[in-house]
């Protein structure tokens, strides 16, 4: 009978410990936040494309306020210029010369938006092909890039930039204006960003270096199943596999909103 009593006593004690743990310890428990198993598919730029054809479009800015670029499997390079013309250099690449025949870059203008995408009119099924861009846009324009399986590189940009990417390496350096990035798989590197930022990233690492700006920043960061690091002034709250952080730098005028799942976020403020 003694054993029964001792067993029950131990079970009751453990149950109490469990309740205390659930009620008081777990909400404040700091887990690493990093999942022990990490799985993702790295973007691969197709290297088997040896045949190419290029086309250059030059358009005066006029009434145009926004530019939209769509494509995959290649590279996108965007830079702001001091001129008033938009210069869009496009390159279509495929495995063989004959594969290129049915492809063309389709340009369309809708209201004040100019857009480019790859169009195919040859026999089905369409062969694999990539579309790459080298773009110069007048400062102050809005540019949207929808791209997958490639690399998007934006440098010295002034204006409004929106990137919707997947399985890609995204690199933005020296941006004045607003930036919105929605990425899945790959990596996102944003350096010298001066202005409001919205970043949604899943299964990818994020590096954000913000440049000082008048009005300062207001930070709102949520990282699920990942890690948050960097020198930005943030107050963190860790719950199970999720990290929520908020902070303010200067007057807190420009919002910096970051949502990341299954990836490491590094948020820094440049001195």
């Amino acid at each position: 009978m003694k054993i029964r009593r001792y067993t029950l006593a131990v079970l009751v004690l453990l149950t109490l410990l469990f309740l205390v743990d659930v009620r008081y310890v777990q909400p404040h428990l700091v887990r690493s936040g990093e999942p022990s198993v990490r799985f993702h598919v790295r973007p691969l730029i197709r290297t088997g494309f040896t045949a190419e054809k290029s086309q250059v479009f030059t358009r005066p800015r006029g009434q145009l306020t926004s530019l939209m670029l769509q494509g995959s499997f290649g590279t996108v390079e965007v830079v702001s210029s001091s001129g008033e013309d938009l210069v869009i250099r496009t390159t279509i690449a495929a495995e063989k010369e004959s594969d290129l025949e049915g492809f063309e870059v389709r340009e369309s203008i809708s209201d004040s938006e100019l857009s480019y995408e790859l169009a195919y009119s040859g026999p089905e099924p369409a062969p694999a092909a990539s579309l790459s861009y080298q773009v110069e846009v007048p400062a102050g324009m809005e540019v949207s890039v929808v791209y997958s399986y490639g690399q998007v590189e934006v440098k010295e940009f002034v204006g409004f930039l929106q990137l919707l990417t997947s399985f890609s390496r995204v690199y933005v350096q020296e941006l004045q204006g607003s930036l919105s990035v929605n990425n899945a798989y790959g990596s996102v590197e944003l350096k010298g960003i001066a202005g409001p930022l919205r970043l949604d990233n899943v299964f990818a690492t994020s590096l954000v270096d913000l440049a000082p700006v008048d009005g300062g920043y207001y930070f709102q960061v949520e990282v699920t199943n990942g890690r948050l690091q960097g020198q930005a002034p943030l107050e963190r709250e860790v719950r199970q596999n999720s990290i929520t952080a908020q902070g303010r730098y200067g007057e807190g005028v420009h919002p910096v909103v970051i949502n990341s799942s299954f990836g490491t976020v590094t948020l820094n403020l440049e001195p």
């Binding site: 054993i3 029964r4 067993t7 029950l8 079970l11 453990l14 149950t15 469990f18 743990d21 428990l29 887990r31 690493s32 990093e34 022990s36 198993v37 990490r38 799985f39 993702h40 598919v41 790295r42 973007p43 691969l44 399985f167």
Partner: protein, 254 residues
């Protein structure tokens, strides 16, 4: 060691009939499906059933067996003999665990072997994607090993739950369920405490180890084992605790 092997043989003899019966039923099910598909009576996709049914049923069966192997000792009044044997309690439990792993191995071999034997000819698209038979065998081996670890962990928790339930007078089923829940919680807490001790371990690049890069060069699968190693130590601790309780504090008449 001889005593341990005798215990293992006893458990294997007890499980021989049901395991070979289940393996046989699985192979017969697969053979019937393959025969009907060959006749054109059923669509080739029905072959999925031949794999899905054992994959669903066998894990549940093995968890039940981890409970049943101990329960049978009380039901057949052999627990008296077991307790007077000059063998430590943990060895008795380890023998039952090893017996379960042999059962798992037989059922795994029947399922995998039967799949390739009966449905291999229907998987042309799969063969085109898979890098080669060695790649498949290598990965199947590690699926088997991972499954064995998961089963062993579950079985140790179930054994503890059963033994503790025999140490109380009433509501033994409910107590067993509650102990199962508490032991899982305890292991998680222990794993959390032990994790920092193993953080020095390098991250294992599973995509290289399992040669997943041959399947697709873009795949990255990495595993930092610190947490799981902490949990493994805690689970081994539970095995010895169960052995101690079994050996010294059990009430046979419960």
């Amino acid at each position: 060691m001889k005593r341990f092997l005798k215990l293992l043989r006893k458990d294997l003899e007890a499980s021989r009939l049901p395991v070979f019966f289940l393996a046989g039923i699985t192979l017969i099910l697969m053979a019937v499906l393959r025969w009907r598909i060959a006749q054109g009576a059923w669509h080739p996709q029905v072959s999925v059933l031949g794999v899905a049914v054992p994959l669903t049923f066998f894990p549940l069966w093995l968890i039940w067996r981890s409970f049943q192997t101990l329960r049978a000792e009380w039901r057949e009044d052999t627990v008296y003999t077991l307790l007077v044997l000059p063998v430590p309690g943990w060895q008795v439990l380890l023998a039952k665990l090893a017996g379960l792993l042999v059962e798992y191995s037989v059922l795994f071999a029947a399922t995998v072997g039967g799949t390739f034997l009966f449905f291999g000819g229907l998987m042309d698209e799969l063969w085109e994607v898979i890098p080669g038979p060695w790649w498949l065998a290598w990965n199947a081996l590690w699926v088997y090993v991972t499954g064995a670890f998961v089963l062993a962990t579950l079985a140790i928790h179930v054994q503890l739950a059963f033994v503790v339930s025999k140490m109380v007078g009433r509501l033994q089923g409910l107590v067993a369920l509650w102990v199962l829940f508490l032991s899982t919680w305890l292991t998680d807490r222990a794993a959390l405490l032990l994790e920092p001790l193993f953080r020095w371990l390098p991250t294992i690049r599973l995509h290289e180890f399992l040669q997943l890069t041959r399947f697709d060069e873009g795949i990255i699968l990495e595993w930092q084992p610190a947490g799981q190693i902490g949990a493994a130590f805690a689970t081994v601790g539970l095995l010895f605790l169960t052995g101690l309780l079994f050996e010294r504090f059990l009430e046979i008449n419960g």
